[in-house]
């Protein structure tokens, strides 16, 4: 396995882990909150809301704005 494949495999593994966590949160009785619940909790205050929204905005700026 080349270092390119290993790096891509790592990204896919994190993506898969996120999907598994979300499924565990929604389909089982395990005490794992869904991603939406975590975001809602983080966004209860104005600072948290703006922080999360700026992280989202940064993605758009990073990929499209020079």
């Amino acid at each position: 396995m080349s270092s390119h494949d290993l790096t891509v495999f790592g990204y896919l593994l994190f993506l898969l882990a996120g999907v598994v966590l979300e499924l565990l949160a929604r389909r089982t009785r395990l005490r794992i909150p869904s991603l939406a619940a975590v975001l809602a909790r983080a966004m209860r205050t104005r600072t948290g809301r703006v922080g999360v929204l700026v992280a989202w905005a940064w993605l758009g700026l990073h990929f499209f704005a020079g």
Binding site: S2, S3, H4, T7, V8, G10, Y11, F14, A17, G18, L21, A25, L30, R31, I32, P33, L35, A36, A37, V38, L39, A40, R41, M43, R44, T45, R46, T47, G48, R49, V50, G51, V52, L53, V54, W56, A57, W58, L59, G60, L61, H62, F63, F64, A65, G66
Partner: protein, 220 residues
């Protein structure tokens, strides 16, 4: 010492700086702003810095507002109340939701036709991002239940996943020949998505997903 109090703008500046230092998100935003600016995106860095300063100022203002005189105020003591969580919301009708979705798709189609990092793409994306942050600043756009306390271990799993993924991306970034030179051996997410974003359809699709995510967050 003549006993006179300092000018109001100095007091405001001092309370803004203090409130900013107390908020980890403000500090994180300022750090990201610095690194974004020195990596060749000064406009993006400036925008992040402006948001960080506005947040610090808003926090300082909130703190001044919630400091109320206590019974022992005569002794120079005050009592600070916790800030209200932003769970009150504005209602949105289905027709408005459909209109926003249509506008988002049109925006993605038009903005996706511009080359990446060109000035029309930059103006479009910065304009939309700023509008969404300002909208989100006012509070959630729909009513929702307060999630309350979350299970700590389950929340820690999400946090751990986010940090680990960030470190993985960061290691790929530092294993490149240079910060702005991509590497096939250690590709960052940006490098992996470059082929997708070279076409109009790819850019429009990515913008549509980005806009949908923004709308989801504004409604949280």
């Amino acid at each position: 010492m003549d006993g006179s109090s300092p000018p109001r703008w100095i007091v405001a500046l001092g309370s803004t700086a203090t409130a900013g230092v107390r908020e980890p998100i403000v500090v994180i935003l300022l750090l990201i702003a610095v690194f974004t600016a020195i990596s060749g995106r000064p406009v993006n860095g400036l925008l992040l810095a402006v948001v960080a300063v506005c947040l610090a100022w808003d926090n300082a203002r909130s703190r001044r507002r919630v400091v109320i005189p206590a019974p022992d105020a005569a002794a120079g003591l005050t009592t600070a109340q916790p800030r209200e969580p932003l769970i009150a919301a504005r209602r949105r009708r289905p027709a408005a939701v459909a209109a926003v979705a249509a506008a988002g798709l049109v925006f993605a189609a038009v903005a996706g036709s511009f080359a990446r990092y060109s000035w029309p793409a930059t103006v479009s994306v910065i304009g939309l991002a700023a509008a969404m942050v300002v909208t989100g600043w006012r509070g959630p756009s729909r009513s929702r239940r307060d999630p309350g306390e979350l299970p700590r271990r389950g929340t820690a799993l999400w946090a751990g996943l986010l940090v680990a993924a960030g470190l993985w991306e960061l290691s790929a970034l530092f294993l490149q020949p240079g910060l702005d030179t991509t590497s096939s051996a250690h590709p960052t997410i940006s490098a992996l998505t470059d082929p997708l974003l070279t076409s109009h359809a790819g850019r429009s699709g990515a913008l549509a997903v980005w806009i949908a995510a923004g709308c989801f967050l504004v409604r949280r």
